[in-house]
């Protein structure tokens, strides 16, 4: 029963992957209106030569904020799990 369910879900997922590979845009020619705007205007708007850094810290700062929160949560969790208990 369990193997049948596993095979069924695996085949559905692999069919989805292959279908997604077939209908996606051709490799090397992505749709790029937003990125063209960012590449053209990043230097005048943020002053940074590195466009990736400009995107990470300026255009999409909220993503970086959430990522910092996740890193903080993970560090807190690891330190909490491995803290040494005091011997009584």
């Amino acid at each position: 029963m369990r193997k049948i369910a596993m095979a069924a879900s695996l085949s559905v997922f692999i069919a989805f992957l292959i279908a997604a590979t077939l209908v996606i845009h051709p490799f090397g020619y992505p749709p790029s209106q937003m990125d063209d705007y960012i590449i053209e205007n990043a230097q005048s708007e943020t002053g940074a030569n590195n466009v990736v850094t400009a995107v990470v810290f300026d255009y999409r700062g909220f993503d970086t904020l959430g990522e910092a929160t996740i890193l903080f949560t993970a560090v807190t969790g690891v330190v909490m799990l491995f803290r040494r208990r005091k011997k009584e």
């Binding site: 937003m34 990736v52 996740i70």
Partner: protein
Amino acid sequence: MMVGIPFNVPFLAVAALIGIAFYIILSQRNLIKLVMGLGIMASGVNLFLVTLGYREGGVAPIYTHAPIERMVLPVPQALTLTSIVIAVATLALMLSMVVHIYRHTGSIDSEESRTMKG
């Protein structure tokens, strides 16, 4: 320049990576192998994001000493940067949880670790 590659071979590689990771997550019972499967899936997602933003013959989107004006898309690269750090953080948390499960139950089998112990 990658002129000779036919259309969607990099996307097929992404599909293969994510399919392998999904098979591992479904079939394995060892917790360490499950974590390894999740790591492979994270690598597949990173490869997908980088592949999504590649432009034919483009250079990295950095204006310092850039040779030509044609650049790959910067937003997927920024998302990949975020994704890598998140993958590291979650892998560390999962591995420490596996260590604790092993200390608590004496086994890293996912079936045996489900039984409750008073």
